[in-house]
Symmetry: C2
Subunit: 277 residues, 2 copies
């Protein structure tokens, strides 16, 4: 027990909160942490961290999700969760798994992932996308200082240090731009440097892009696919979040994460149902 405490004390808040305990070769249990919730439901990015911990435990030589596609079947709450992983195919340098997460026997997440080793990828970079131009973090708006109800209903916000570009923070004062664009900076609140699994969480940590379209209700994610493309350099991560196809009661939300070295280290797209009313 003292050994366990010692070990935990060397873990970041995020690593501790997403830890899994092995029950068998393919099954794990986790204690979902309600401190990573928004509007009563555990955050999707945090849940990606939890399922990735289970995948990593079963894929030691390919420890990083290169791509993970997560289908959200219902809201998760703080408390115990059961995780099952299954290896579908093992390649030379990567392996594809399915992973399921349930609470009280109700399925909450089903996902597919191909695991690999980000540190072992070739070092070519011919990216044509460019990082978002942002004021320095101390010239941006701390999301945890947003007015009233928004922060109160989102304990998640305290787990991160998130700074919004003032140009895209109009929603905080009731003046959303209508462009469907949020951008800014993110890091873990405890100062831990970014790593593959915290990148997964960053992809779904910012306020919903629909806030910039004046739609403030909770929008349930149906599916989120994340690509991790490089080991992030230490420091702040730039976040760009946008939506271009709002129609038929749904919208897509694209997220880009750029590290301090100017590398596009992660991309995600999610499909969500539009808030009603």
């Amino acid at each position: 027990m003292s050994h366990m405490n010692l070990r935990e004390s060397s873990l970041s808040e995020f690593e501790s909160a997403t830890a899994v305990t092995r029950l068998s070769e393919s099954t794990f249990t986790a204690e979902l942490d309600g401190d990573w919730s928004v509007a009563g439901a555990v955050n999707g990015g945090y849940l990606l961290g939890v399922i990735a911990q289970a995948l990593r435990a079963n894929s030691p030589s390919a420890p990083d999700p290169l791509v993970v596609s997560t289908y959200f079947l219902g809201p998760s709450e703080g408390g115990s969760a059961d995780i099952t992983t299954r290896m579908i195919r093992e390649g030379r340098s990567s392996a594809t798994f399915s992973v399921d997460l349930a609470q009280n026997d109700a399925p909450k997440i089903t996902a597919l992932a191909t695991m690999g080793n980000l540190a072992g990828l070739p070092d070519d970079v011919a990216t044509t996308a460019t990082p978002p131009k942002l004021p320095d973090p101390d010239q941006c708006i701390n999301v945890a200082e947003a007015p009233g109800d928004f922060v109160k209903s989102a304990p998640l916000l305290k787990r991160y240090d998130m700074r919004l570009d003032p140009e895209t923070a109009g929603f905080m004062t009731g003046r959303p731009s209508g462009r469907g664009l949020l951008q800014g900076w993110i890091r873990l609140a405890d100062g831990t440097e970014p790593e593959a699994l915290s990148l997964l969480a960053f992809l779904d940590a910012f306020p919903p892009v629909m806030f910039d379209l004046g739609r403030y209700n909770w929008a349930p994610t149906m599916e989120l696919t994340a690509h991790l493309r490089a080991v992030p350099a230490p420091g702040w991560i730039r976040v760009k979040l946008y939506s271009r196809n709002i129609a038929g009661g749904m919208f897509e939300e694209d997220c880009e994460l750029w590290d301090s070295g100017g590398r596009l280290v992660a991309q995600s797209r999610q499909l969500a149902r539009q808030p009603r009313g």
Copy 2:
């Protein structure tokens, strides 16, 4: 047998080629058609059509894939394939399934999909993306008339009528633009109007976007996630294909499909390994 022939004669070429035969409540067999191949491997978009036929057969009240995430585990060939579907969760108007396709007991595809009813979605449209500006199809370049080896190795090209915007067809004459952009028009060669499942195929039918970056080798797709957002109007479909993050031996390829009514009816993103050499 004569009944079967009668029925097949009323099907489009695409419907016949992607047809599945039920073996049990959850299993199907299909005869993969080598005429939908590129470089000896059955095309990924065609395979999306095949697995979607199996999903549709097991989801009559929610017949359309709203989102499908497909992991390609190895190249498929013409010939027999075994398909297994499993319902993971049934909601009020949608249902989430897993689906696996194997040949000779080797897994070729594992996928997740949420099925729904495109015709039953609300009719709101607040899309900010705009369709690609293209010359008329008869002012564009017929892909099947590309020079030499490219067409010979791709019987798939004859299944479609694909017209490339001359502005993005430089690769055909050895002058790729280097932007990572291909756009043009597509329809089925037999004149059948687009439908949900043919949209899936269109998302992966165009020449690889890497051709516009001067990289002409075959790039194996690791994963492709498709969103279907509306029933397409009859007529030509506009295609926009682009890549922005070419790094670490991989690249993403984004595809947009726009119908003749100017609606963004489908989006996809795939992660692929870069061609070597």
